[in-house]
Symmetry: C2
Subunit: 358 residues, 2 copies
């Protein structure tokens, strides 16, 4: 039986036990004791790099059940002092760019040099499409079998914010479980690239030669976020075009002022399929970590990201609390109608709604 | 005595009278009656196109005094049924592009064809620099003297949101005072272009030939917002370069999918200094209004803008209410320290702060 399958089974078993204990309110004291032991055990196992325990904890983080959430928070709190020691890498690129092949090649390169790699995904569309690229694990056949790699498909959630929170918390769990490298893949739907960028240390943009879409990347602000651009499929007949693309993307990168990281983003060529250029991308990442650790940007960025997520979470909650109040929902519709009929201004309507809730 | 000066004097007189009546609480009933009469008078005068009354009303809108605000709201409510009949034009461009000269040329063109023109500005930096371009009215010498033109410098405010609200309300007052065209200038600091774009019907981007910054415009999302690009100073030796720039900007515009307005943004050449090409830009604007009135985009856009400002105002207020609570201010600092010390997650910290306020 593969490790992954075993993990899934044990996870299922765990959930049913907790469901049984939760069902009886008389046993609540016993229940609490059990949950406590279970949390401690879980944390202990995670710190021992137990993948089954890690999977269970992630399932708790992803759960909508209140008790699961409370336990998830306890696990996270206990894991925190053991987190933060990885390099977090975001990877984006349009469908067809060869993301899965690239992540598999990079992942294998890393496990070969004795690193432990976790691969997560941010895919807010996974609710609809029922499966991101990572959902289809068979596309990373070798990496899935590698005992030093852990692959987890995108959490599903009602909102990008929800998915983002779950992924951020999963990063902490993976780090506590001793993963050295966390790769977070995004399919680039909507704001998902910005979201991934705000939770990683290094942001890698995968491109194809001759796609002629460097202006699209500028337009959408992706080039600006990239710490490196890798032109994939730079092999065979494609090599010449890839070299031209390299020049173009280098020019595009020079549109931007020097980053506060003092890092000059690099354009490299690679062929994930032929396993070429992967090592030089990894060396780039190491160079980035060295540069930004020296000037302390690495820690400052993480600190800023934490603050960003703190503020963002509060703001999202404030909005959702306000606009989901039944009274506000009803009156908002009325005020929008009054706006249409030119009988109120947006500001008068806003004041009215805000006063309703006080 | 010039009309502007007279207006300023009467305005001053008005404010002092209201200050006197407000100072005595015993006379509050008398005071209320006076205020009521004054509001009715003010509205009546505004509808009679009285510039002095318009200026006074704008001063009320800009005031931080609670009584002034209440009166401003009453005036706005009474003006609303008479508003909405103008064409609102946003104009942006970097310093040196000749914005003042262009607005003066366009303004004079419009008053010549018997239109009444109001020129407002969004300049969130006006607090710091103590004066936007429009603050220095001497740069629009001819238009200032024109009795069919009304120029009002940017409101000052603590935030772009504050300035934006005041400008939005000023638009209503100007429309009630019978202005056919409202021009809103922005200096393009921070988010001010997006703000202006969200309150106008037509967004015009002024450019210079040979500045080589079309990619900057794409990068900052300005090209995407433009309904027209006018390349200014297209005269003399500059003409050849301007024609080349026209080709480039046309290419840049084709990066974007067709707008829901079904309007294809145009690039034109002009020389505000020599008064060349201004009429064709005006014709473009008229063509835009015709197209978008036919397909109802014109009204739908205004409706969407109203909704946007309603939601935006509520969200801003919710955030400001929350983060300005003394308890939250203090505990936010503590939580940020805990985040730095790796003793909490952004989400646990957010939950803690949100619960504090419940």
């Amino acid at each position: 039986m593969s490790k992954q399958k075993k993990s899934a089974l044990q996870e299922k078993k765990g959930v049913s036990i907790s469901e049984i204990t939760n069902s009886s309110s008389i046993e609540s004291i016993k229940d609490k004791r059990k949950a406590k032991i279970s949390t401690d055990n879980l944390v202990e196992s995670i710190l021992k790099k137990d993948i089954t325990a890690l999977s269970r904890a992630i399932t708790l983080v992803e759960s909508k059940n209140k008790k699961h959430k409370a336990q998830a928070n306890a696990v996270l709190k206990a894991c925190l002092p053991h987190a933060n020691n990885s390099i977090r890498i975001g990877i984006t690129g349009v469908p067809g760019v060869g993301k899965s092949t690239f992540i598999e090649a990079l992942g294998k390169h890393l496990t070969t040099i004795r690193k432990r790699v976790a691969v997560l995904a941010i895919d807010p569309s996974s609710n609809i499409t029922k499966g991101s690229i990572l959902g289809d694990k068979t596309r990373m056949e070798d990496l899935v079998k590698d005992e030093n790699a852990f692959i987890r498909p995108s959490a599903s959630g009602d909102s990008l914010g929800g998915v983002a929170r779950k992924t951020r918390e999963t990063i902490i769990l993976c780090e506590a479980a001793g993963f050295d490298i966390i790769i977070i893949e995004t399919v680039g739907v909507g704001q998902s690239e910005t979201t991934v960028h705000s939770m990683v240390d290094f942001f890698l943009l995968l491109k194809l030669a001759g796609a002629g879409d460097e202006l699209q990347g500028i337009k959408r602000g992706i080039i600006e976020m990239a710490d490196a651009i890798a032109i994939n499929k730079a092999d065979g007949d494609n090599l010449k075009k890839a070299k031209l693309a390299k020049v173009e993307f280098n020019r595009a990168l020079h549109l931007y002022p020097e980053k506060s990281s003092q890092w000059q983003p690099k354009v490299t060529l690679c062929s994930a399929l032929k396993n070429e250029g992967i090592d030089s991308i990894w060396n780039s990442i190491l160079e980035y970590v060295e540069t930004t650790s020296k000037n302390n940007f690495f820690n400052e960025k993480r600190s800023e990201q934490n603050k960003f997520w703190l503020i963002q979470t509060i703001e999202d909650q404030l909005k959702s609390d306000f606009f989901n109040t039944p009274k506000i929902k009803k009156e908002l519709a009325n005020q929008i109608q009054l706006l249409k009929d030119n009988q109120t201004t947006p500001f008068a309507a806003a004041d009215y709604l805000l006063n309703l809730n006080n």
